[in-house]
Every structure is written in structure tokens, then in C-alpha cells.
Symmetry: C2
Subunit: 479 residues, 2 copies
Amino acid sequence: MANQGKYITKKSENLSDWYNDVIIAAKLAEHGPVRGTMIIRPYGYAIWEAIQKNLDTRIKDLGAENAYFPMFIPYSFLEREKDHVEGFSPELAVVTHAGGEKLPEPLVVRPTSETIIYDAFSRWIQSYRDLPLTVNQWSNVVRWEKRPYLFLRTTEFLWQEGHSAHKSNEESQELVEQALKMYVETYQDDLALFGYAGRKSESEKFAGAVATYSYEMLMPDGKALQGCTSHNLGQNFSKVFNVKYQTEKGQEDLVWQNSWGFTTRSIGGLIMAHGDDNGLILPPGVAPIQVKIIPIVTKNSDNKEIEALAQKAFAVLEGRDIRVRIDNSDASPGWKFNQADLEGVSLRVEIGATEAKEGKVRVVRRDNKESFLLNPQELGDQVDEILAKMQSDLLERSKKFTLENTREARTYPDFKEIMNTTKGFIKAFWCEDPHCEEMIKEETKASTRCLPLGSEPSEGVCIYCQKPAKFQWLFAQSY
Amino acid sequence: MANQGKYITKKSENLSDWYNDVIIAAKLAEHGPVRGTMIIRPYGYAIWEAIQKNLDTRIKDLGAENAYFPMFIPYSFLEREKDHVEGFSPELAVVTHAGGEKLPEPLVVRPTSETIIYDAFSRWIQSYRDLPLTVNQWSNVVRWEKRPYLFLRTTEFLWQEGHSAHKSNEESQELVEQALKMYVETYQDDLALFGYAGRKSESEKFAGAVATYSYEMLMPDGKALQGCTSHNLGQNFSKVFNVKYQTEKGQEDLVWQNSWGFTTRSIGGLIMAHGDDNGLILPPGVAPIQVKIIPIVTKNSDNKEIEALAQKAFAVLEGRDIRVRIDNSDASPGWKFNQADLEGVSLRVEIGATEAKEGKVRVVRRDNKESFLLNPQELGDQVDEILAKMQSDLLERSKKFTLENTREARTYPDFKEIMNTTKGFIKAFWCEDPHCEEMIKEETKASTRCLPLGSEPSEGVCIYCQKPAKFQWLFAQSY
């Protein structure tokens, strides 16, 4: 009850203050004692568990098996892939002492596990019969953050990283796309977050990849959030880690590889996109509490009927595997309503004297306050339906917002005008010269987010240099 | 197929070589590139996932919620509890550099999370209404190992750690015992490993605890393995981390705390206790593959009937949520049998020409080779029964071995004689003076393992100093 009466900045007034306030007040997370680290509190972790449950099933459906690799990586491993070590060096945490002694070689705390996993692959893979080999790891990783932000940028975060080895680039690329599709499903079906799936530019791709794909979502302030990545690594790592196999014809060949990851950062996007002035709004797919029953009991009335209805509703919903709680605390009904709103509980069930008189319960949606007076015996089917409708409405709202804030810019002054005012996504022709990309970023803070999948080539001119450009890329300022 | 024909040391000849061989050959795990670290391969990790599934449910039944705390702990946090820092100092890994800079304060990679969690508790707990507070974390931890051993002693290992805060010592002690009971259930019901639950001596308890409880199992070489710990922390940590609450009467009071953990070390005990010369024996409760169907097809015969029976058996077992695989590789039946034995698959289902002729399948237990000729349509119920029987038989075997190797020693020469020959557990009176305990350890390598729960006091004399002693403690050499 420590939050009772706690002031939360209005989302409509200051997104960033609201975001921090709601995370603290709803007890999702808080800063750890070491700068940049985060404590994920039980309520926040329950969201991660809900995400993991479905995502782990999807990962296994891809043919991956879970495994666990050490988090300490010899520094020399990272150095083997030139781009990889250059990309990650500034973000590394280094163990220099252990067991009371200075170590002969400093150890890196994994920022990602390509190097240590592919060193193992070089032993595990002998023949074409061992391919494809796909493993996944749920773990913590560390990338030192200069500007930490709860969930969105933390020095240590939780994630899954999938790693695969194949006989051909085509087969590897297929898994790169399947993994991306799996993340799109997770975002759209579970987190109710619309976005664009596409390929990153050369300068924005993963350090060590041939190509990186991502899912880019729009936050309420018009800035983009990258929600996951899926990398085609070509033979970059198999070359340096010597991951070879004997082909059907008895020849030796390097494998083709890919890797793909999804992190606790997703929870940051979830919070920021859906919430409102009153607190979180959690889509039923990942809400730790999908339904909260609030009996409105008073000192002066007979509450037996209300309590009986509450118990009945609870039993019905629990029997349907709905994540339901009953709030029997001694707080006032008004405080309980506010608390359920703050926590983003998908539906609340109110039962007061009026409802009890009719033998009914009132179900209220968190997102649009739509309310339903229902018979407790029909509650199961109807709540399932209302939850499903809320889930799809939230995705629809996210889609509508994103499409309304995806604009085409034909001229650079238009581009700058948009970035100075509404922000959001801009579709604009770009010649794919990194210099233009860099200048646009310097002048407008907007970077290329991705080339959306399915983009059709046409004959345009680069928004910056006016030279020929084939594709409209997606630009935005970003988290 | 890289293990085909791989030589495995006989368990009966050299336990330690067998243990390492079987872990490598069955692809459970291997050494990581950094000394003391371990790669848990998919087959080994699947055992951990099976353990986690039931244990996580039991943990939540205790009233705990999962959360995640940062793995980097300021060194100053550890220093606050004197015994704690003294106990863990020699095992710490220390991050001194990060983000390209030397850190102002070195960071410890968590060896356990009491300090960082109780610092958070001091903020989360305000009033008696916030108690009890019970959180659990699934994570990696690091304790530098001078003598690493796969699964049993690794520098980084996986575990769960539960942490709780209470209004009274009685309530806290109750959870200490419930947690211990939960681990006993996990070991006995899932891992089929008998052992003794009891209290550790003062010198063997956790650094910072008032009392530590553990589950002690006996390995085939007569050495004991500690399987888990549950600690009563009293107010040792609440004092130094200032974890206070306001009582019902409006006074300020320190909370009473406990913590309890279970690690991937358990898999080491599982491997070592159950396996035989042919490889692993995995109890159905945690076997990643409970049943492997092996169609015995030959080039010269019509295999259609065999293959149809195999598919039918597979469908029946999969429909019962049994973890079943079918081995359709082109290896020989003999190789497939050996491979299933090596992997410790609980049951294999053989279907050859003889069985096909009768329209039946042959089910063979991994542990005792007992075989059953069954109709495929009755397979579901019967396999469930056979698996349950195998599970209880394995526990019974473990119990029998442990009881047969638990001896009473009345004199110190007897004690030494046992430790020089059969080893195993010894029950012996001990006066509880740490000096006697130390001398016994020096002279026989046997340490106190625990005072078994329910031990009755009586009037004995210390096996070492002959002074009065109340209880028979359990002694053993240990891993």
C-alpha cells in the first residue's frame, strides 16, 4: 500500500517522467545499486514470464533446443572477428581478478554469445548429419550503458539468443526470416504492438553480421523502438572459429550461420505504448493479472451476497485458466479501482449492492472503460471474448497510431519539418550511401530504422543528395 | 553420431573417469574455455528444464514470486555482514573495468544475492502488511573453483535462490523447513535420490546464517553430496541492511529472514548415483526422453508393419504427454540400443519382425532390463505404470544403498576403519566442539554432514574426546 495516493506524472504532459513514475509506482522495476543496473520486481518479472512462456514454445517450434553457455568469455575470443570486437569494445565489463588472484587473461562478461557458442559448434559439428544445428539460450547479458533507462537501456538485461548453423546460405536466411516472423507474432499477438519488420542498413547492422533484420515500433513521443534483431552472419564467424563440416560428397565446408535475440527491453515498449494517465494498460496476452475482482463492501450493509458473487466469479474464471485475483484488502473501493488501473489489470470486475441485487457482476475494460453487466454463470465465455476483443483492439489502436504517424517525405525540408514537429516514422528515398545517412542523422537526429520487408524498388532520388535511389527506407529518431 | 563406438570407462572400475566420460559421451555438458566454467549442452539442459518445471511450481506454492536482481554487487555490500564477506571472499570474481574505464568501486559478480536483495527489501518493506515477503530468483552465480568438476563444482552455475522476510523467528523457521521439505520432495519424487535432511554444524553452516539445513545424499564411492541448503538467517542481515517494519502496535522492528537454494549440482548427483557401466540411467521424472521407440528394420524384409506399429506407439505415447522419440536414423539396431542406454532413456520400445508378427511391441526398462510384450492400444496406461514403477524402484534402490552404507561407529578406531574401507555415512556421537570436528576431518577426511531431522537426544560420549555428547551426527567424506 506504499503507493497509496502516489503522484504519477500525466502521460499526456511528460512521457519520460510518466514512464519512470509508472514503473516505480506499479512496482515493475527500480534502479539497482550499481549505475545502469535494474531490479525487476515480481510484478515486472511476471510479464517477462508470460512473454517467455509463448516465446519459448515458438523457439522450440523453430527446431531449437535450449542450452547454457558460460558468461565469461576470454577476451581473445572476441578479438577473432574484427567488426565484432570493434562494435562491442566500448560496452564491455571486464573481470580482471578472481579467486583472490589477478587472472592471466581478462575475462569479458558476455555482451552476446556468438564467439563462445561458435567455438563449441566447431567441436559439435562434424558432418552434414549434424546440420542444421539450432540452440537457444535464456540468460543475462551485459553492455555498459552511458545513458541508462529502465527496461529500455540497462547495463545488464535478460534475453534469449538463438544460434544456428546450416549447410547453405539459403537455409540460413530462411531461419533468419522465420525467427523475425516469430518475433512479429510475439509483438502483435501477445504484446499487441504493431511495427515494421525489415532489414537494417549497413551502418545499423550487428557487429559481425552480413545482414540484420529488426522489428521497429513507434512510441507515443514519435520515437522508434527496435524490438528484436535477427542476423544473417554468413560465414563471418564460421571462418574465424573454424566451424566446418563434411559434406555428403566428403568435402569440407564452412557452415552458414545466423543469430536472433529478444530482450526485456520489449517490456519497456509495452509500458510506454499502451499506458495512459492512470497507469499501465497491459494486453491480456501478457498481463500478470488479467482480471481483478473488486467486491464493493460497506460497513452498513449486508455484504454476504456480494462476497458470494465474488467467490463465484473467481471460481468460474480460475477454472478457465484466466489469471484472476480478488482484492479483499481493507482499502476503499475507489482506491482499489485506482490501484487496478495503475497496475494495468486488463479487466476489473465490480460487485456492489446494485449488481448484487440483480445477481450480476460488472466487468470493465481497462483500456476504454467499456462496461458489461453479466451473469456470473456466463462469465467464463464472455470474459474470454472480452479479453480477446481487448487484445485485438489494442493492436488495432497501435497500428492506427503507427500508420497515422508514418509519413512520406519527398524533400529534405519536408523531412526536417516532420522531425521538428510531429516526429514519427518517415518513408524517404535514400541512396544507401552511409555519408547521406550520417548527415541526416546529424541534422535531424533521425536514423534509418529499416527497409521494410516487401518494399518494392522504384526510381526515386535520395532525399539528401538527390542521386538515384531505389528504395524508400524507414527513418525515425529512436530510443 | 560422433559417439559411435566411443569408449566409456566402466563405472565399476573407476567412478570418476566414468562420470566424466558419460557426461561427454551422452552430450550432457563439457568444459568451457575459461577454467572451471561449463557448457550445459541441450541434453543436459533438458534435465534442468524438467527439474525447474516442478520445482518452480513448488516454489510458487510456498508463496514466493519470481523476480530478478542485478548480478553486479558493490563490494561494500558484501562487507556489511562480517561472516558473509569472510566466507565468500576467496571465491569472488571481480569486475574492475567497464565501458572502457576503471570503475570507481570494484563490482562483485554475485556468489549469492542476500546483500543486494535485502538492500531492496529495506525499501520494499514498510509495515507488517508487507510481510511475509518471499521472492525467488532463477539465475547464474559465480564462485571461483580451485578444483572444478563438471556439474558438481563449477565456477559459474545455475540455481534458484529464495529469500523471505517475516514478523517472527518462528514463522521464518517454518519456511526454512518448508523449503527443505520441498527439496526433499524434488530429490525423492523427481530425481529418485534418497538422502538425509538435517541441520549443518556451526562450522559447516552458510556464511551469515544462524542455522543451515541441507539434504545429504550418498554417491557410489561412499562420499556424500550436499544437495541443497535452506538457511535461517535470523536478524543478521536485517540488522546490517536495516530491514525494518512497523508492527501492528506502531513500533519499529527488524524482520526475520531465511534463504534457500538448489543448483545444477543436483544433476551431477543424478548422473553419478543412478548410472551404470552402459551409461546414464535417468528416472522418468526428469528424463528428457522417457521413451525411445526403436524400429528394428532390415533390408531384406518387409518393414511396413514394423513402421506402422512404431508410428502407432508414438502417437499413443505422445498423446499421453510422455516425452517420447522415435529413432529412425540409419544406424544399426544394436547401435541404437547402446545409444539409448548411454543416454539413460527410461524405457526403450523395440519393434522387430517377431513383435510385428504378433502385432505387439516390446518395452524394456533401462534400469533392470525387465521387458514387457504389450498391445499398442494398451500402451498408454501400461507405460504410465511402468514409468511410475521404475521411478519408485530407483528411489528404493537409492534408499537401500544409502541405508546399507550408513553405519554406527561406537569407537574412534571403528570410525577410522570404516572411513579407510567402505566409507559411506557414519552415525556417531559428537560433543559439538569444533575442535573435535576439525581433528576428525584432518585424520579421516570425514566431516559432519548434518544432524538428521528428528534425531532423539540421548546420553552418549563424543567419538573423539569422550566428553558427553547428546546427539549422533552424520559424518562422511564429501564432494
